[in-house]
Symmetry: C2
Subunit: 305 residues, 2 copies
């Protein structure tokens, strides 16, 4: 049966409403997404930033601030530190970027006093519902780690397993992707994919099934797996987690899906002790709302790490 983004959002009905803390909330796209998340019962928000500017932006969008807690901090980086501290202290459940540059925002995430470090390296997970594909797909990493090492890839898988578990997916299937589905010593990506598979088989990585290298058709299309006679593979079109060789491959596939397929998607940063929402200019409105929803779904699981 097809799994949908709405299935994820439905999980939120059974738990206390989560709250997202916004760093520099004077951003129209973010305020619109936060307002929709509130109206749909997905999450509440606390808006940290320059109160006058927040009010101006809210007024221009006809959004009433009566529904939101607003905390005035004029300086951008101080506002970010205040917002992330709310999450650090458990007064909010997740942390979202507003009108502040990405570098400063990430610096606040990693702040030793009030940030959200767990000891793990950060990585990015993008969750897709795609027309024609039954399972939700968890893509990593399409936005954050440029050229992951083998060690990075192990960490990316572990970070993503927390997200899949929170989304109710038991023993997910991880596809380390490449152009081909066999090891080719001239393609280091395939060698690393095979090494990840060995680590799974030898019990060094648990809580999932890993089968790579895998081409994308074998990973997501059961008919292609049948057609290619891939009866000896553990993944036959039913991968849950797509592990990309590098940020170029990941980001280009991500944008191909967003711009040519019928999809719903949401993205978060993981490896932190709360979901971090780092949407970009190129994300549309619904994906921003979905990112907040995804954060709300996984927040409790990440908190317990």
């Amino acid at each position: 049966m097809k799994k949908t983004f709405d299935d994820l959002i439905a999980k939120l009905k059974d738990v206390p409403t989560k709250k997202v803390a916004i760093a520099c909330a004077q951003d129209s796209a973010v305020l619109e997404a936060v307002k929709a998340a509130k109206d749909r019962g997905i999450a509440n928000a606390v808006l940290v930033g320059d109160e006058v500017k927040i009010k101006e932006v809210a007024d221009s969008l006809n959004i009433s601030l009566d529904d939101f807690e607003v905390i005035h901090v004029a300086d951008d980086y101080e506002a970010a530190l205040k917002a992330v501290k709310l999450v650090h202290d458990g007064e909010a459940d997740m942390y979202m970027k507003g009108l502040i540059d990405t570098r400063s925002f990430l610096k606040s995430v990693l702040d030793k006093e009030v940030g959200l470090r767990t000891g793990a390296a950060l990585s990015h997970v993008c969750v897709f519902e795609i027309e024609g594909i039954d399972q939700l797909l968890f893509l990593t990493d399409v936005a954050f780690i440029p050229y992951p090492t083998l060690e990075d890839k192990v960490n990316m898988i572990k970070n993503t397993l927390i997200i899949t578990e929170a989304c109710g997916i038991e023993n997910p299937k991880v596809a380390p992707l490449a152009a081909v589905e066999v090891v080719n010593p001239k393609m280091p990506v395939t060698v690393e994919a095979a090494e990840l598979t060995r680590m799974y088989k030898d019990g060094e990585i648990t809580g999932c099934i890993i089968d790579g290298p895998l081409s994308l058709d074998l990973a997501i299309d059961p008919e292609a797996a049948i057609h290619k006679g891939a009866t000896d593979r553990e993944i036959r079109g039913d991968a849950d987690i797509l592990l990309f060789p590098d940020i170029h491959a990941g980001n280009l596939v991500y944008k191909a899906l967003v711009h040519t397929a019928t999809v719903k998607n949401g993205n978060i940063l993981t490896g932190t002790k709360a979901p971090v929402i780092l949407t970009s200019r190129s994300d549309n409105f619904e994906s921003k709302v979905n990112s907040i929803a995804l954060g709300a779904v996984v927040a409790d699981k990440m908190k317990n790490l």
Copy 2:
């Protein structure tokens, strides 16, 4: 106005029917595609290979061989050499792989006596019609060159320009793709993309516009280009040629398009003095027919190199 694969095929009505020479034609998927190409007036074929086996496969598919010239050569590699020589000698217009391993097939393409060398390195071009995108997209290289150097990329662009010109696209826009649209010294792909752009601006590469590095949204989605305020770019959602950083990125995007979007596509090898059609098991029936059509459209242009 939207350009379609059918627009390309329509060009074939105005020229003498082309002929494809098949290396080891005893392959059911290839025979079906060749039969459809014949029936639709796309191309004729000469079937080289083991005549008894070709007859068996044709019979099993209820395909009459009366419409085709069959040349009996029992040995696989000898059959390939015979088929490629027909193209080399101008008795056929393009060369297609049947039931022979890729390595032997490519060896015949590169044979110094009867092969199809031009001096250029070979590269792969995949032509896509995609629902929601007005222009045809020419992807290179999603299947042949694993890790292209800057020199390879220049060659890939030049090889592809022959194909776009044969398809009637004047001064095509070439997008050297990356995860980002700005140069980042930590991402060599972006540095090479900028160097290709410089080569275009300095007149070292002509017959096209090059603008990179470019993210995929800016390359194929005019609305995304407006939304991101990309007014200073030469490409704003209207790229014709997508140049991929490596085979993993290219192949993963290729398969994402085939398996999640609504597309028509055909593929050929270029850098040769005739189109070489190297379809794989994972290509569906229509894409095999489209590949023959693409070869027929571009054959005259490649011959005149």
